[in-house]
């Protein structure tokens, strides 16, 4: 009897005020994480790829962007966008979109690192083999390098999605009614259901996170784990760039990776 009572708010935890209000709850966490990854993918991929360039004026902005965002707490980013976006877009922007944009920017930095690690893992010989059969750089990247890089990146992306999903809980601070906020609201309005609220919160996050990371682990077993955690492998890969660096002896189209000697 009491147990059923405790379960009374399950749809609030899952879906928030929907259908009487906007979508919220656990569902919203998943949606925010998903949108953030999708929106940030293009920017993240470009930044990550460009960071491999040997040209300082390309490499440094990408490096600065990634490091700046990775050094800032997510809460800070959320507050920044929460403050600034209304000035840019007018007061119509909802907290949901402020949160999603902040999460996208946050995600783009991490995705840049994933893309960079994936492309770096391809041995130099693959590009050499492709080029020596007469394919152009673009063709080699498209048919040989990038397909391999994507296969490598997928497990990292999935585990990043899990991590991002957990991080969406932070958005409650600006008022987004996602699972954490739902639990807090219930525990304040109905203090007798406080334990149920926290248990639901915990179980909600745990179930989604556990199943996704289980999936990620199976993928990792198939493809091989990639250590994304390394801080600074800083080699540049001129052989993967579409516009290779020009060097003093005017030999523009070569595979020499001898730009900075620590390649």
């Amino acid at each position: 009897m009491q147990l059923l009572d405790q379960l009374a708010n399950w749809n609030f935890y899952l879906f928030g005020p929907f259908p009487r209000g906007e979508m919220g709850g656990l569902f919203l966490n998943i949606i925010m994480a998903f949108l953030a990854i999708v929106f940030s993918f293009v920017v993240g991929a470009i930044v990550g790829y460009s960071r491999l360039s040997c040209r300082m004026y390309v490499k440094f902005p990408c490096f600065a962007y990634v490091e700046l965002i990775r050094s800032t707490p997510l809460i800070m980013l959320i507050f920044w966008f929460y403050f600034f976006l209304p000035y840019i877009f007018g007061s119509g922007i909802t907290i949901f979109w402020s949160a999603v944009i902040a999460l996208s920017v946050y995600a783009s930095a991490y995705e840049a690192e994933i893309v960079r690690a994936g492309v770096m893992a391809i041995p130099k010989g693959q590009m050499e083999a492709a080029l020596s059969t007469g394919m152009s750089r673009y063709q080699s990247m498209r048919h040989v390098i990038l397909p391999q890089a994507f296969r490598i990146m997928v497990p990292s992306f999935v585990s990043f999605f899990v991590s991002l999903f957990k991080d969406t809980s932070v958005t409650y601070i600006i008022g987004v009614i996602e699972l954490t906020q739902a639990g807090i609201i219930i525990s304040q309005r109905q203090p007798d259901k406080m334990y149920a609220a926290y248990i639901s919160m915990g179980i909600g996050f745990w179930l989604v996170s556990f199943s996704m990371s289980h999936f990620a682990r199976r993928l990792e077993k198939k493809i091989g784990v990639f250590d994304l955690e390394s801080i600074r492998p800083d080699a540049c890969r001129d052989d993967f760039m579409l516009l290779p660096a020009h060097k003093k002896d005017k030999t523009p189209d070569t595979l020499s990776t001898s730009c900075p000697p620590q390649s």
């Binding site: 041995p123 083999a129 020596s132 059969t133 007469g134 394919m135 002896d249 005017k250 070569t254």
Partner: protein, 252 residues
């Protein structure tokens, strides 16, 4: 066909190619040998400009490599290269490895490309493995597929960078057989290898390199049996342990 004129290359402060002068005519099979670090692979890789040279000229098929107007991509399609570590595309089957370049560069249709690929696979003795992924093939099989992949572009020159160095001893011969038949068909080949037996049988010219410079060029008997330079003699003696020079010593 290939001509090196006073080629020099530096890796930072290290002088890896010292004033190399070499000519290779059409249909010739040239073997480059020498101790490790002599610059043999580097020399080979300058031919299709995987490595640029810093000084001097290289002329391939009448085209100057340092000329910015030379279409390097088109030139590379005429030069095939086989690598020490095969460098097959792991995400494609053997057949697709071979058909990729002809379809994308020469614009062949899928059926024509596959027909050509199957013929080449038969030539290297692997037509029954056309759908295998590189991970499922042995080292020797992978290298043979790699050779077929380079032949698919119908190149004028074939470059081999230590093709058998990464193979188990039993698998070396299958690759050498393919290379030998290729030589008999009249292909211009430049081979960097330690397989002296192959060189003695097949090479028209042997180039001995040491420390970035060419010390001796000659026919196989000249280099292997009767080397002139001291370093060449030392190298051959340590590689062979063959009593070729014992008569010389006995006479002293």
């Amino acid at each position: 066909m290939i001509k090196f004129i006073a080629a020099n290359k530096w890796f930072g402060a290290i002088h890896v190619l010292k004033n190399v002068n070499l000519g290779i005519t059409k249909g010739e099979v040239v073997v480059i040998c020498g101790p490790s670090g002599a610059g043999k692979s580097t020399l080979l890789r300058t031919i299709n400009k995987l490595e640029p040279i810093d000084d001097g000229e290289i002329i391939v098929d009448g085209k100057y490599l340092s000329d910015p107007k030379t279409d390097l991509t088109a030139l590379r399609a005429e030069i095939g290269m086989v690598f020490q570590h095969f460098n097959l595309y792991p995400h494609k089957t053997a057949l697709k490895n071979i058909t990729l370049a002809p379809r994308k560069v020469r614009g062949l249709s899928k059926s024509k490309a596959e027909a050509r690929a199957l013929k080449l696979l038969e030539k290297v003795g692997l037509s029954h493995r056309c759908d295998a992924f590189p991970a499922q093939l042995s080292g020797g099989e992978q290298q043979r597929v790699a050779i077929a992949r380079s032949l698919a572009m119908e190149p004028k020159i074939m470059l081999f960078d230590e093709p058998t160095s990464a193979l188990d001893p039993e698998l070396i011969n299958e690759v050498l057989d393919v290379m030998t038949s290729l030589a008999k068909e009249g292909m211009t080949m430049v081979v960097v290898t330690h397989e002296i037996g192959f060189a003695q049988k097949v090479a028209d010219k042997v180039v001995f390199m040491n420390d970035g410079e060419i010390l001796e060029i000659g026919t196989p008997p000249d280099i292997f049996v009767n080397p002139q330079h001291e370093r060449t003699k030392e190298f051959m003696r340590s590689v062979f342990h063959v009593p070729i020079f014992d008569e010389e010593l006995a006479e002293d």
